[in-house]
């Protein structure tokens, strides 16, 4: 007689958005385990049709409160590519600086308040704070520093308002950025301490052999430009995305599943970025990675917390470098003339590659828009991780099984709202 049990958990905490994890167990065997996203489509691509292309950075920023800069950077660069616009090195550096702010705040929050409790047996960051108060304080400072940096460069920390086609509405004064340097240096040191703390966690030995996909840039750790590359040999410009990748629909999810056309499941995000761009990290940050147990490639999704820490240290140092060399762009934006065309661009959101494509007419009105967010691209890989952990813990209690599957999802810091909100866990045992 097979085991028949049904467990429903109404909310998976510490992820963004609304979805569910469904697990079906027949006779002690896991027959289905997947992330089901039921949040209604948000229709941003349709909102964009008929709007002026110059509105795209501000409209798309509203897709996400945690990574609005990613949406602004992918959209603004895609539009500028249509207009043949190169805003120049000062504006590029300022945009990279803004992106550093987003990495710092997003990664610090996820690492300590959302992800670390899984490794230490706490229900949430609040419970963890009682025993790890100093680490939580450090994380809050790092996050605040990232937020402040975003406000200084782009007007405010959530849904910034300073990015425009051609550059910025206002370039920050040198003194405003220089005033940030002590805090950023302290945030870097705090993150090193957090990273060493996380280096002592016990990590499950899950290794996944996914094709890793990320931007690659010849000279620097990629944030806002480069080419799309993969461990499977992909090396293409942004405009060729559709030649290698496709999105497919599954009935249980309102988010599309990304796949490499010829090979299937792939993974984007910190593990992919790190593996494909390890050589671009300064030697002392590579040494720090080695100290906490990371090699040049990491395929264990649980250890993404460590990779996020490495990226945060890098983002702090990159921010300090950019501020040290800052030359105020004058003017803060370059003029342009709208023209008809099609453009595509990708940047590296904290959660992974974010690809945008726009078609505009001769007056600069958007005719079509497509947005492929990282969580949609990662959905198949997340499903596979949930399945692997469900199989590993199938004989344990529902509570243990639930935690294992929740953690498998949280490893990827998914932003379900971006991909199309509550994550519910449904376990059916027959």
């Amino acid at each position: 007689m097979g085991e028949t049990r049904r467990l429903r958990v109404d909310m998976l905490a510490r992820v963004e958005g609304e979805g569910a994890v469904d697990i079906e167990i027949d006779d002690g065997r896991v027959t289905c385990a997947r992330l089901s996203i039921f949040e209604p489509p948000r229709l941003f691509e349709a909102f964009l049709r008929g709007r002026a292309a110059e509105e795209a950075p501000d409209i798309t920023a509203r897709i996400c409160g945690i990574c609005p800069v990613a949406y602004q950077m992918s959209s603004v660069n895609a539009i500028e590519s249509i207009y043949g616009l190169d805003p120049g090195p000062e504006i590029r550096a300022l945009r990279r600086l803004l992106y550093c702010g987003e990495y710092i705040e997003s990664h610090a929050l996820h690492m300590v308040l959302l992800h670390a409790p899984d490794f230490l047996g706490f229900e949430d960051g609040l419970a963890m704070a009682a025993e790890h108060g100093e680490i939580v304080k450090r994380a809050l400072f790092v996050k605040k520093t990232g937020n402040t940096l975003m406000s200084v460069v782009a007007g405010r920390e959530v849904h910034p308002i300073n990015v425009r086609v051609g550059g910025f509405y206002r370039a920050p004064r040198h003194a405003e950025l220089a005033a940030m340097q002590p805090a950023i240096a302290r945030a870097r040191d705090d993150m090193v301490a957090i990273l060493r703390w996380a280096g002592n966690f016990t990590y499950p030995d899950l290794e996944q052999d996914w094709e890793l996909v990320a931007l690659r840039h010849p000279a620097e750790y990629p944030l806002i430009d480069g080419r799309i590359a993969s461990t499977g040999g992909i090396d293409i410009p942004f405009t060729a995305f559709d030649e290698e990748f496709e999105e497919v629909h599954h009935p249980h999810s309102t988010s599309l599943y990304g796949r490499v056309k010829s090979r299937g499941t792939y993974l984007t995000g910190p593990l992919a970025r790190y593996a494909l761009n390890y050589e671009c990290l300064p030697p002392h940050i590579q040494a720090l990675a080695k100290e906490v147990g990371l090699g040049p490639v990491c395929r264990n999704p649980y250890k993404s917390i460590l990779v996020r820490g490495i990226e945060t240290v890098y983002a702090c140092e990159e921010a300090l470098r950019i501020i040290g060399a800052y030359r105020e762009p004058t003017p803060a934006s370059v003029p342009y003339t709208p023209c008809a065309g099609v453009g595509a661009w990708a940047t590296e959101a904290p959660r992974g590659m974010l690809w945008h494509r726009y078609e505009v007419d001769g007056e600069g009105t958007i005719l079509n828009a497509r947005i492929v967010p990282p969580t949609a691209q990662n959905q198949a890989a997340i499903d596979a991780d949930v399945l692997a952990m469900a199989n590993r813990h199938v004989k344990e209690s529902d509570t243990a099984l639930q935690l294992a599957c929740e953690t498998a999802v949280r490893n990827h810091d998914p932003c379900i709202s971006c991909s199309c909100h509550f994550l519910k866990l449904n376990v059916t045992r027959r």
Partner: protein
């Protein structure tokens, strides 16, 4: 004595503006630094770290009595944290207070005033009952500050 008053809420979201509006009215009526804040409440922890007395004014979710003023001492009373740490986008005042309490950085003299709202639609005006509550609360001026412990 350093006292801090925080009016928390989005001024463009109907009754969510209650906190900032009370703060504006209190500027000349209370011996405290008065600020308006909205968005990420976690950033407030650093702001109130040095304060000896703290007053937090926020709108509360509808519970059937718009304009009712709830007074809470977070050092003794638990704030409702329906979605506590459930979402990366929703670190509200309750989570920030709870975290600060755990970290030992919440001023011992803290008072939360929560005005029950009715309509939180973007761009909406304040509901009449909430507008009246804003005036009523602000009229209390310095009496809003939690008293110092008796020697």
């Amino acid at each position: 004595m350093t006292a801090l008053v925080v009016g928390f809420g989005n001024p463009d979201r109907g009754d969510d503006a209650a906190g900032p509006l009370v703060a504006r009215l209190l500027v000349d009526r209370i011996a405290a630094r008065v600020v308006e804040r909205h968005g990420d409440a976690l950033a407030l922890l650093d702001e109130w770290r040095e304060a000896e007395a703290l007053v937090l004014i926020d709108a509360a979710a509808p519970m059937g009595e718009p304009g009712r003023i709830h007074e809470i001492d977070p050092c003794t009373d638990e704030l409702p944290r329906q979605f506590a740490f459930g979402s990366t986008h929703a670190f509200g005042l309750a989570e920030a207070i709870a975290l600060s309490h755990r970290l030992g950085s919440l001023p011992a003299r803290t008072k939360v005033y929560a005005i029950e709202g009715e309509n939180f639609a973007p761009g909406a005006a304040l509901s009449p009952a909430v507008a009246a509550a804003v005036d009523r609360l602000a009229a209390r001026g310095g009496a809003l500050l939690p008293p110092a412990a008796e020697e």
